[in-house]
Symmetry: C2
Subunit: 372 residues, 2 copies
């Protein structure tokens, strides 16, 4: 990992600041606390694509342009002892997801299994936040969400589906859980933006162009992607020979579960634009399943087995030149160990965003990075 | 698809023959019917790696060598309104899985969600048979199983986990369901055996050798694999750049769920050999989840949405030179259309196996392929 040269902001200060800014944008205090925690949890795990970096563009700017309502009115469309369907009415997806998981964990505590779906929602942060809520309650969490179309099917070139994470978090007897939280495409847009910022090409085979080839110029990929002239490829890559149809299958599973359980829109209807190119509500769908090991052979058996499997994998023979084999969630745990006493690293563009937000709302914050 | 030159055996004759052979090997009649149907369903779907071709080596030979018990004694280790854990006592995995799914579908009919796990089991056929049982009842089926270690983790070279399918079948409003049924490794052993039979090399990047490289000589791969000197790679391939850690994550999810819910063994303990190289019981674990859309926004909404997504994907822009985009389960449906009136194609080595089994058991069958 590259040495950190950016200044840090303490977790306490950052949390307090984000809550106050969300409140300044009309989000009720209790909801603002949830949203700040979801975004900061992403930074705690080192997943910078979904943390502070998204605070302004994905949440505040959308509240401002009217495509995200700061007050979340949740309608329960259906409820049974084991299931819930919610309409988030274009409010904060994180607030609806928090309410959903709180209720599903209670249901799974009573019935062993629970499932939920949310329609008319907005970006719900890292999927792993919700599955980790289940894991903290000793249960298995599974979640996924659709998103604007950017991934092409096998043998196709058109961006049809979202990067659609299929996320599982499971308790172990270790200090950290098994936490598998990632897109079902090879990479997300955020990774290509990262390559561009580093002045690096995107590896071949991650993107498909209209002529069926690939492209490695990171800046060009981002420009063409915005026009729908190239698409991300599912895990396994183009064609069938290296298993591309398997990644395509996982992406489609998430597309179906995100829309079909809640009866919401899907694929091209999630572009966030109407026929005239104007912004529209995102109307995302999410799904959530919670499984309680106490209704199988018990939490202790589950945690010990899951831990033994992770330990066994890490101890297995490494490829020459590799020092370490990781299990899912381990790198996030390492990031937290490195950051917990320091806070969240904040680069120059974020510093400008934060001070501008502070001044815009007249908030009484002063950041360490402002001191000479 | 290559034109079929092998002779066909009618479905009725094949089914009757397999049932009688299973009975001849000590499998009770009702159980034999289930097992024959599972194996033939694989052939109906064109998945020849799991159909008639496995009848003798994976089932009959194992009954003979004592690692698969023909009479399946099922113990219920735990049962709640939504969950079941079974011990299959080294009997027929297909019989235990059939009992499991029958009960889970009933539970999901009543409670909306159900989950099960089986320990001390044996090869349960195509995972998609079990998830399709749920789909035929209008529900979503999810299943997976562990298997003998053959897949290396990211940055590793040692075969640690099985090819671990993570299978989803979901109802649609089309003639066939969305059915995603495949290994979480790029390929299975069966595919490399297929390349060898065709005299073709295995594509680079599907297998990792002890020196961290790859290998394309199909015959050599199979020989080295048996000694544990090379391993299959998870979807996404070696390293992290092309998403190999994502395939590795899916493989691990299946390894954990297959063992931790039922408290069974995992990874190296599933090699089927003891420390002295003698055959041991396989002691596989499987898991099953059933989700009933009627407890969400209803079966009609689910089927229509899932169908619309599949149709939309197939209608999307093709890569130059590609005539068709498929959705998961479509190729299996096409195989059935081609085979339903003809029967199951039987090559020379299978013909010999069948006539030898017939003669061994003194069964009164005569196959068309025997006529001059």
């Amino acid at each position: 990992m590259a040495e950190e040269t950016r200044p840090y902001v303490s977790w306490e200060l950052m949390n307090s600041f984000m809550i106050d800014v969300f409140k300044g944008y009309g989000v009720p205090e209790e909801d603002a606390k949830i949203c700040a925690d979801v975004l900061l949890e992403s930074d705690r795990r080192g997943i910078e694509s979904h943390g502070c970096n998204r605070f302004k563009p994905i949440y505040l700017d959308r509240i401002k342009n009217g495509t995200l309502l700061p007050v979340t009115k949740i309608d329960i469309l259906k409820e049974t002892p084991t299931t819930i369907v919610m309409d988030a009415n274009n409010g904060m997806g994180m607030v609806a997801a928090h309410e959903m998981m709180t209720r599903l964990i209670e249901k799974a505590g009573q019935y062993g299994m629970a499932g939920g779906a949310i329609c008319n929602s907005t970006h719900y942060g890292i999927a792993g936040y919700w599955t980790t809520m289940a894991e903290k309650a000793g249960m298995i969490g599974i979640s996924g969400t659709n998103a604007r179309p950017s991934v092409a099917p096998t043998f196709g070139v058109e961006p049809m589906m979202g990067t659609n994470p299929l996320t599982f978090t499971m308790p172990t007897d270790e200090e950290f859980p098994f936490n598998f939280d990632c897109a079902t495409s090879i990479v997300q847009n955020g990774k290509i933006e990262y390559y561009e910022r580093q002045g690096k090409p995107t590896p071949a085979g991650l993107v498909v162009t209209k002529d069926g080839g690939t492209m490695t110029d990171s800046g060009k990929i981002l420009r063409e992607m915005r026009k729908g002239d190239c698409a991300l490829l599912p895990i396994g890559g183009a064609g069938e020979e290296t298993g591309g149809y398997k990644g395509y299958g996982f992406t489609t599973i998430v597309e179906i579960l995100s829309a079909a359980l809640c009866g919401g829109p899907f694929m091209k209807a999630l572009s966030g634009k109407d026929a005239n190119g104007n912004n529209t509500m995102y109307r995302l769908g999410h799904f959530f399943f919670v499984i309680n090991p106490d209704f199988f052979m018990g939490g202790d058996v589950f945690r010990k087995t899951a831990g033994d499997i992770c330990r066994g994998l890490r101890a297995s023979e490494k490829a020459p030149g590799q020092e370490r084999i990781y299990t899912a969630g381990e790198k996030e745990w390492i990031a937290w160990q490195e950051r917990k006493d320091k806070g969240v690293p904040v680069g120059e563009s974020l510093q400008k965003e934060f001070t501008a937000l502070r001044d815009e709302l007249g908030l009484p914050y002063r950041f360490d990075f402002e001191k000479q």
